[in-house]
Amino acid sequence: MRATFARRSRRVNSLLPNYIIATALALFTLLPLLSLVFNSLKSSAEIGQNPMGLPRVVHWANYVDAWNQAHFSVTMRNSFILTFGSIIGVVIISGLAAYALGRLNMPGADIITLCILVGTSMPMQLFMVPLFFLWSRLGLTDKLIGVIIIYWATMSPFATFLLRSYMVSIPKDFEDAARVDGASELQVLSNIIVPISMPGFLTVALVTGLSAWNEFLLAVTFLHRDDVKPISTALYAFQTRYARDWGLTSTAAVIMALPVVVLFLLLQRQFIEGLTQGGLKA
């Protein structure tokens, strides 16, 4: 008993430098985030005198003011439509493609994979200008569905690779049994493969939703009218308009980050796995 205690305390002691450095690094990431939350609770008068410290008087009114002045009821709705529209489309598109590429032994799978890889390595600046021209011809600029379609195209390749790696590892006999019973490929996919690959689909949904919620470049390019702006570009416009009023801009920023941070804390394993997957699969 005493021996294990001594050993443990020796271990903790030898790890003390590690804990000090790790904590310093954690403060480096967390303090700036905290300062944003603190500023969101200060009146503009207080920010002038006390821009860095804890709020002396908690000023909740910022949340009401920012919500109304940044038209969050509209921009939140737009962001939710973009997010869920992207998730639904990406899950369907990549689920179907991953099934064909991973389980149907399709001829030409390598070539398709290569094409998609080439597509994902293209910088958006290469295709954005002609795409903008095409989209305005088709009447898809300043429409949420226009941007959702672009997200489908840019986010599906990653999702396809991720789901494919899930599906490849499923034993073949499950689906063979179903095929013997006369199930169509679509039924095999929806009744057997999808339920087994559910963790993969959850990861894909999370990563897609996160990217759509946070996305800036395409949103700022394709959505100009106030009534279609998502929260990211609306927040940017709000920051420029109220640059002097840190209370309001901080609050608006916190409102945008809050759903993501809460979801991340609840499902951090899935988030981290999904976002680092690309790096680990190499």
Binding site: L15, N18, Y19, A22, A26, F28, T29, L30, P32, L33, S35, N39, I47, M52, I93, S94, A97, A100, L104, M106, I112, C115, I116, G119, S121, M122, P123, Q125, L126, F127, M128, V129, P130, F132, F133, L134, I149, S156, P157, P171, D176, V180, E185, F216, L217, T221, S232, T233, Y236, Q239, W246, S250, A253, L265, Q268, I272, T276, G279, L280, A282
Partner: protein, 321 residues
């Protein structure tokens, strides 16, 4: 415990094989399923292919064409041959932007990767509280660039930020308008982007380290290796593929970097923080020089492609990356 799992898995696989053999005997194809084998898979892949062709590949080919025209982004255009590329050679803004992308690449190959490797080595032996640290380092990476930009616009503000605060406490040299000074703006923006990026790399390296065979550490310890030798001879070779992968994406992403620069400085002041992506955006949507923008975009893509090709060639040559 682990061996139990292995035995279980092997038994399971055996059963699966027996079952598969049984079903294979039952299932005799009545006629060749051309539909199932050759047509159906294409239908499943079609949405992905169509979306990619319409949004990415088609317009990219379009750009490769428009790069040789004087297109404004609207209406008509005429063929100008290599004029846009000749213009790039003499364009001071392009020179600055290109040099900044190269500088950004070097900076991001050193600082966040170094911090990620160092941090992961520090965190790895920590058991108690490991989850907290992992989450703390990762959080900025899931927060939108717009939000992170707001945070640092405030902290690095020339009159209300940390600079004047430190200056009033004796550190006079910190009284700098970080985003307004042509000498500091590039590093200030890179600092902000790195702040949300290094933790991602740390967590990635940490995950890779967990896949390294623990017996190798055991062996290193038995031979009396110190921590540095252990890291150098066991950890580093173990995570090398992941390290190389992060080097590859760092180079590719450094040539596409846009968000933090656009949000914090728009490329200014006086183009001091301009990069190719912000220049393309500016030329295309504010100067109505879509042809020229396409030429710059094409150059960016060629650099990306070059990196991938070099990577593939090195791998073919037997480099273990």
């Amino acid at each position: 415990m682990a061996t139990d799992l292995e035995v279980g898995k092997t038994i399971m696989q055996g059963q699966v094989l027996v079952q598969a053999a049984a079903t294979a005997q039952v299932r005799q194809p009545k006629r060749p399923h051309v539909w199932r084998k050759a047509v159906l898979p294409w239908l499943f892949v079609a949405p992905l292919l169509i979306a990619n062709i319409v949004v990415v590949l088609g317009p990219s080919v379009g750009s490769a064409f428009f790069a040789f025209t004087d297109w404004s982004g609207l209406g008509s255009f005429k063929w100008v041959g290599l004029a846009n590329f000749q213009r790039m050679v003499g364009d001071r803004v392009f020179h600055v932007a290109f040099a900044n992308n190269v500088k950004w690449t070097l900076l991001f190959l050193i600082v966040p990767i170094g911090m990620g490797l160092f941090g992961s080595a520090i965190i790895a032996p920590i058991k108690r509280g490991a989850m907290f640290y992992r989450v703390a380092y990762f959080v900025p990476h899931v927060i939108a660039s717009v939000v992170n930009a707001e945070i640092w616009r405030q902290i690095l503000h020339p009159t209300m930020g940390i600079g004047p605060w430190l200056a009033s406490r004796g550190l006079k040299f910190m009284d700098v308008a970080f985003f307004g000074n042509v000498h500091t703006v590039f590093y200030a923006v890179a600092f902000v982007d790195n702040w949300q990026w290094w933790g991602f790399l740390l967590v990635l390296y940490l995950a890779a380290m967990q896949a390294v065979d623990p017996e190798l550490y055991e062996a290193a310890r038995l031979e009396g290796a110190n921590r540095w030798q252990e890291w150098r001879n066991v950890t580093l070779p173990g995570i090398l593929p992941n390290l190389v992968f992060t080097i590859l994406i760092t180079i590719m992403w450094s040539f596409k970097v846009f968000d933090y620069i656009y949000l914090l400085t728009g490329g200014g002041p006086a183009h001091a923080s301009e990069v190719l992506a912000t220049q393309v955006f500016n030329e295309a949507f504010y100067q109505f020089e879509a042809g020229y923008a396409a030429a710059i975009g094409l150059t960016m893509s060629l650099i990306s492609a070059l990196v991938v090709v070099v990577f593939i060639v090195l791998r073919r040559k037997g480099w273990e990356i």
